[in-house]
Amino acid sequence: MATGELNPNHYPARRAAQVVQHYLNTRYGSPFRLIGVQTVHSGNAEDVADSGRKYQLELSVNDIITNTTKTCSAELFFPKGKGQQPPEVKASCEELLKIDIKAQEEALYQKYKTNQTLMSAQYLPDSHGHIEPDMKPFWHLGILASSFIMLNESTENTLYNVAQVANITQLTTEEDHLEFDCHTLLHEMVSQEIIHWKMLFTWSPAEGVKVVQMKRLPHRHEREKSPKTN
């Protein structure tokens, strides 16, 4: 694998940057703040004895909702060895939290803490990319919860995006936060597979997103019998 200075246009840097994106969304993401990689400026990778590989990246990220760009420095470590171990990420970005979304978060929280019927939505966005404006915060929540999974599952040989939030359903809870059951579809670019995950997660303006449970759903391989079965 690429070692030393990385070409920012090439996939090793790009995949590492995507991991930083997932990390930033788990830390700073909100129904009103979603972070995406804008540009990788420079990067470096090196082997760490026999334990794994370390990356350093300089990149710009974009707050997708407000379309503001911030620069970041990040360090990643992809462990080697038996079993799927998640990467370790450290990142610092300039002023990511600058734009004030507290009012919007509070309004969303209050509305769904006190609603008479629990919300439920499917196919965010739908096959044509449509999504009701009211449902966008839940699409974002599904993406944020998925970011924990995408972060955990990432290696130097993967590149994850959320393909769709298939279902997000609010659950009753005695606690202060809101609680959701969620089914999302992840697109893994290298294998081109669509991977289904189910999650139980909570959210509040104070706590952000916390994933309580997650489970990968088995691949529904297509079974069609050929006409000439023997």
């Binding site: 090439h10 996939y11 995406g36 540009t39 044509h128 449509h130 697109h187 391989h221 050929s226």
Partner: protein, 309 residues
Amino acid sequence: MEMHSYPIYDWINRTAQDNPRRVKAILIGSSYEKRPLYVLKLSFNDRPNRKAMWIDCGIHAREWISPAFCLWFVHHSLSFYQQNSEITRILDSMDVYVLPVMNPDGYKYTWTARRWWRKNRSISKSGFCVGVDLNRNFDVDWGIKGSSQNPCEEINCGPFPESEPEAQAVANFLRRHKDTVQLYITIHSYSQMFIFPYSYTFDQAENHNDLLEMVQEAAQRIKRYYRNTYTYGPGAATLYPCSGGSDDWAYKLGIKYSFTFELQDRGEYGFLLPPSHISGACNEALLAVKTIAVKVLEKTQAPANHHTI
């Protein structure tokens, strides 16, 4: 015009009928489920010894913006010929072959059954799983990298090169026309990338610097006019190493300007690009096609043919 409608065949027929002097529909073969594969030949004048370019769309079923782009390109050519100087120059100098949907069986399947389908719909010998990734089925270092013999996987390369009727139809056509086709472009989504050979190896293509210069200019113009970012580079290093791709195959055939375009977006909507984004995505791709086609003309036209203004 309605972009994401399934009856693309109606559109193909109507376009050819309404523009009989400039558009001809050529049947190049049929799909596994026996749908016709039509290429539209755009021929805007009849200068002798004309060269050609080829654009194919819809090789991967779920990438809906791709067939939309082929329709957009044809529409732009018909509407802006002699109004837009770049498209006029291109169409005056070259014929354009446009294959709007290389994988109509898969495309239909994404509308009627499973939105995430990628491959064609051919049933494997075992009958257990369906579909071959047409962009792993071409005869270039087939089956070695970034592909799978497992018929259940998304990057299944099939039982042998050109096993799939869709890939075979395209390959046969390009083999017959390899002396006239100078530029090959295949349209995909998503990632916002322009890639060129090779994907099957990290070795550099013979005209790597020319190809790099072309995609770099395309990306720069998109940045300037649309403020959007596209990355670019040779396939293996930029996206991932993989064998059996149509762009590498076309290049090895002798079409020395060969590109894969990955259109919008970069993962936010991914394959589910909404209608509001279609014109932006298509305009960006159009700018890239025109930029590269003009550069190909500059590199391939003999000095005697240069027109001075």
